[in-house]
Symmetry: C2
Subunit: 354 residues, 2 copies
């Protein structure tokens, strides 16, 4: 270690600053504290049968030696990986990463690790087979938007790995999700109340032969509401936006190219709605005047650009999911579904029809 000139602030040279990699082992601590390694291990892990005075001595030794346990050794010995898998399609969507941040927040706090994985429709089945990363020693898996239907749910429940599902409700599996039908109804009702008659829908492709999934549920709520109001939803008014920004752009362009374009559009995600903005602009129209737009999520950018949307507490869903996973791993927590609230946030992207 070369000599360092001292400086100001938190970057001062500090002659005995520990290097990044801790070197002391549990045996060093035991020696320092004058106890056995077993006692150190127990003291560190809040085992009840450790005298307070002993615990103190151990802690002091830990401090002095700047001891940090080697998690690999701990995991090997205990057989517990303290790692939770997180599998989702489209890791880059705002929804997914927000979920992930929520999950990460509580796992990190509990000193658990997070293993990230993607599962597109093609590889989704590997969850149950040989995906090496997840066949590895993880304690549980958090699944996002599996869309596996009841058969899949039964298979999931039969695995001997704790599972929490985010984004949909499945039988016999702990889950956190919103009432997607209701969310779509909220959006449709809002548009109808504003006086719109020609309302279009942009969702995502349902690539699985499964009846119940997010796009399907939202579509149902939307359709039902329109129908109840005596409104039609022509086939041309239903577009696939792929849940991406470019997808939303394409869908909007298609809608605006129609002989009778809609006066309002409900997008199943804010990101698709963002993509639509450009298409509207290119057509020389104004959002909220010539065409109303409603999204879904309440993405951080939705506020600034004034997008009306159905807000779902995504980060909170991630946090709750992680907490449920930890409860399951602790042996607490029963299998149940946890619904989260959805609220319509009215902004300027939706208004009365021109």
């Amino acid at each position: 270690m070369q000599a360092l000139t001292s400086g100001e602030g938190p970057w001062d040279a500090d002659s005995d600053a520990p290097a990044l990699v801790g070197r002391a082992t549990i045996d060093d601590v035991a020696r320092e504290a004058g106890v056995s390694t077993a006692t150190v291990s127990r003291a560190l892990r809040q085992h009840p049968y450790v005298a307070e005075s002993t615990r103190q001595r151990v802690m002091t030794a830990v401090e002095r030696l700047k001891y940090v346990a080697n998690s690999n050794a701990a995991r090997l010995a205990s057989g517990q990986s303290r790692t939770v898998g997180f599998i989702a399609p489209m890791l880059t969507s705002w929804y997914t990463s927000e979920l992930m941040v929520g999950v990460e927040e509580v796992l990190t706090h509990e000193r658990f690790d997070l293993l990230i994985g993607t599962a597109n429709s093609a590889s989704r089945e590997r969850i149950f087979r040989g995906d090496a990363r997840f066949q590895q020693h993880i304690d549980g898996v958090i699944l996002v938007d599996v869309f596996c239907g009841d058969d899949g749910a039964r298979r999931l429940a039969a695995l001997d790995t704790p599972i929490v599902v985010l984004g949909e409700q499945l039988q016999r599996i702990t889950s956190v999700s919103v009432d997607n039908e209701r969310g779509a109804r909220l959006a449709a009702k809002h548009l109808i109340q504003l006086g719109h008659k020609r309302i279009a829908l942009v969702g995502g492709h349902n690539d699985l032969d499964v009846a119940k999934n997010v796009p399907t549920e939202r579509a149902k709520g939307f359709r039902d509401t329109l129908q109840a109001a005596g409104l039609r939803l022509p086939a041309a008014y239903v577009q696939d936006g792929d849940f991406t920004i470019p997808g939303g752009h394409r869908a909007m362009r298609a809608l605006l190219g129609l002989p009778k374009p809609p006066s309002a559009v409900f997008f199943m995600s804010d990101e698709m709605a963002f993509g639509a903005l450009e298409a509207v602009r290119d057509a020389g129209l104004r959002v909220g005047h010539d065409v109303s737009i409603v999204g879904f999520d309440d993405h951080p950018v939705a506020g600034p650009i004034g997008l009306t949307t159905v807000r779902q507490p995504v980060r909170e869903m991630g946090r709750l999911g992680a907490r449920l996973m930890l409860d399951t791993l602790d042996g607490f927590g029963t299998v149940r579904h946890h619904p989260m609230e959805l609220t319509l946030v009215e902004r300027i992207s939706s208004g009365r029809p021109a």
Copy 2:
């Protein structure tokens, strides 16, 4: 394991589908292949002194037993964690998460793990001291926006842990960054060429006593360019936007509240520019007409809403950083700086002054 009704598609019941947690050990494989565990280990890790025929037999056994190595045991035994730390301020900004995705992409591909950590100004010094997560057994650290100055750089270089810095250039440390001064010059020049005379700057607070960091560099490029064009930059035209959406909103409101508001504003991040949008709207003004706005990053939403911005290849920077880290760990790769290209993307948020 309960009986499963069979179904269609990838969710078919499969009587001998392996559970998520692999059970076979390296000894099982050795027995199955008729070799020693050492040979299995070598075969699996591409050791040169393993006969091709032996490797084949081992692989067959691995397949048959669906063996997956226990990474904890491997790490304990080898002393290599195959884990890289990633420390950044503000994990939730688009810039950071994009960087992270890039890093994650290549690390995952090389079967490395990523350990995430935050380092705000208060805790930043812990990198060098006792942050438990990082004192643990990681092979290297990728640091984002450390802003530690040359003294800090010298300390970093002196640590015995491989380090790659993202977002700034430091002496004796491998880094990936853009020419921030040039980026700001690009933005300023653009605005000046459009004919703007009253141009404001929204950056982030420099909370460290360090001369060189991103906000400072961008401010310098911006100031220099204005000066060279004979333009003034009054103190009131320099606002702190905290690099967040609400921060950008506040800054823009402050600017518009000025007796002589600017006709153009350069934001040091797109997210701050997004926040500004709302303030402009609330003031009854139109972006690109009454007030021009230029951002920095090229956030995915910048395109859809037509934000002129200075694009930096963020994800690519993350990928490169990770690759450099792996090279360093392999003993290849020398300490050097890797510059990335910056380009101005002109959109409709900037136009001639009204």
